[in-house]
């Protein structure tokens, strides 16, 4: 009986990993980097786990977790509360419709899919910020931000897939 309980706890912890990682990445995203020029093009780190887990294990990243990650991101960064919840949920919805196409494909397909998602996310972010402040936002840093986010994707993706293989294989 004890072993089954332990096993169940172990299973629960493994299943909680994608959601926990996503929330942790939000915190990681606001840690001061102390690099000049970085602020303007700071990558949207949280999009990476949301995209990755939505493609590979959407059952372990339910919508409420994405919503919470978006709210947490907004609360920490001082963005209008709810803005990134909209962006992340919308992206998750879009990726879910393309999941069949993306899952199990080579990494480059996954990367292309991510580029598409980043473009959708940053455009939506730009539009929402513009509407909220009723002012046109500078578009240049947004483009750099999208590029940097896409360029950085392979490393976290490798870490996530490692996590997936070691924690969630066979389930």
């Amino acid at each position: 009986m004890t072993t089954t309980l332990l096993q169940r706890l172990d299973q629960a912890a493994r299943y909680a990993a994608p959601a926990a990682i996503t929330l942790f990445v939000v915190l990681l995203g606001v840690v001061p980097i102390h690099a000049p020029f970085y602020p303007a093009i700071a990558p949207m780190l949280v999009l990476m786990p949301v995209y990755f887990w939505t493609v590979h294990r959407p059952d372990l990243l339910p919508f409420p977790v994405t919503f919470a990650a978006g709210l947490l991101h907004d609360a920490l960064t001082g963005a209008p509360l709810g803005l990134h919840a909209i962006v992340l949920l919308f992206c998750q919805g879009v990726v879910l419709t393309q999941r069949r196409f993306l899952a199990g494909k080579s990494f480059f397909v996954l990367w292309w899919g991510f580029l598409f998602t980043v473009v959708v996310a940053t455009t939506l972010e730009w539009v929402l910020f513009g509407l909220y402040h009723a002012a046109a936002m500078p578009a240049e840093p947004v483009a750099f931000k999208a590029l940097l986010t896409t360029a950085l994707f392979p490393l976290p993706a490798w870490l996530f897939s490692h996590t997936q293989r070691s924690l969630l294989s066979g389930s």
Binding site: V31, P32, H34, T77, P80, G82, A85, P141, K145
Partner: protein, 283 residues
């Protein structure tokens, strides 16, 4: 079975739409009535402040090490530069002593009462939230340490921003580069008044300058004290570029590398609201 799967899919779609509209609603409520939403934001910030504090320490150490190695390489050049600066500063010091003596004697003549010295507290930056759309940082001090809304925040060489939100042990500082930052300033040389407005870029711009104002590159920009938000005379930045009526200002404070900031209370002294220094950080 098929029916259960269909029901589950419908429920999922429903929860998706519910959360999406929930998020939109939160954003709209925040726009209309910010008190509730800001309260929620403070509580979230307070809850994760200890985690962020822990995360920011190794990052600061790593950044410090990189800076150390860089400065090692430039040691010789830096030394020469500093010597030249010392020679220059020595003249300023002599002038300052002379002016102070003159000032004291003139004050004595006029029976002038100088303003009380300001109290300040040094705070660690635990989160750098600066992005393409927002320019702000979070610090690890809050109402528990006497920090209040609206206090001026100085970063190294000049004004960095203003406290816009305070929790019990964390506070958010809106940097002067943020789109929402508006600071009444004067051009120190000509005493022309203007408003320094952030643009979410590294260089905020001067707005509402008088038409006849003549601003040159290198002019110092200081706070004017109008509006009562900041005291007059705080160093803000220097004019970096003037073209076609657009004046860009380079802040004195290095806003991309804020490790510690000084939160200064410029309001008249209130005995019960003393600033308390952070444990482990000497102001």
């Amino acid at each position: 079975m098929a029916r259960i799967a269909a029901l589950r899919a419908a429920a999922q779609r429903f929860s998706f739409l519910l959360l999406l509209f929930g998020a939109i609603a939160v954003m709209m409520v925040g726009k209309v009535d910010s008190v509730v939403v800001e309260g929620a934001r403070e509580r979230i910030m307070d809850a994760v402040a200890p985690i962020l504090d822990g995360l920011s320490r190794p990052a600061a150490t790593a950044a410090g090490m990189v800076a150390d190695v860089q400065s090692l390489a430039e040691l010789r050049a830096e030394n020469a530069e500093l010597r030249a600066e010392i020679a220059e500063l020595q003249q300023f010091r002599d002038a300052a002593f002379r002016l102070e003596a003159e000032n004291l004697s003139l004050r004595a003549l006029l029976n002038y009462r100088p303003p009380e010295p300001n109290r300040y507290v040094t705070a660690r930056v635990i989160a750098d939230n600066s992005g393409a759309f927002v320019r702000s940082v979070a610090v690890a001090l809050g109402t528990d340490h006497g920090v209040r809304d609206g206090m001026a925040v100085l970063g190294g060489k000049g004004l960095a921003g203003r406290v816009v939100q305070v929790g019990e042990r964390s506070a958010r500082v809106l940097l002067i580069t943020d789109l929402n930052a508006r600071i009444p300033v004067v051009v120190e040389r000509s005493r022309d008044r203007a408003i320094l407005g952030g643009t979410n870029t590294d260089r905020p711009k001067l707005a509402h300058l008088p038409l006849e104002a003549e601003v040159r590159v290198g002019d110092r920009i200081v706070t004017s004290g109008h509006g009562g938000m900041f005291p007059a005379g705080l160093a803000v930045g220097a004019v970096a570029a003037v073209d076609e009526g657009e004046v860009r200002v380079e802040p004195f404070a290095d806003l991309s590398r804020l490790d510690f900031v000084r939160i200064v209370d410029f309001s008249p002294q209130v005995p019960e609201a003393e600033l308390v220094a952070t444990p482990g950080v000497s102001p």
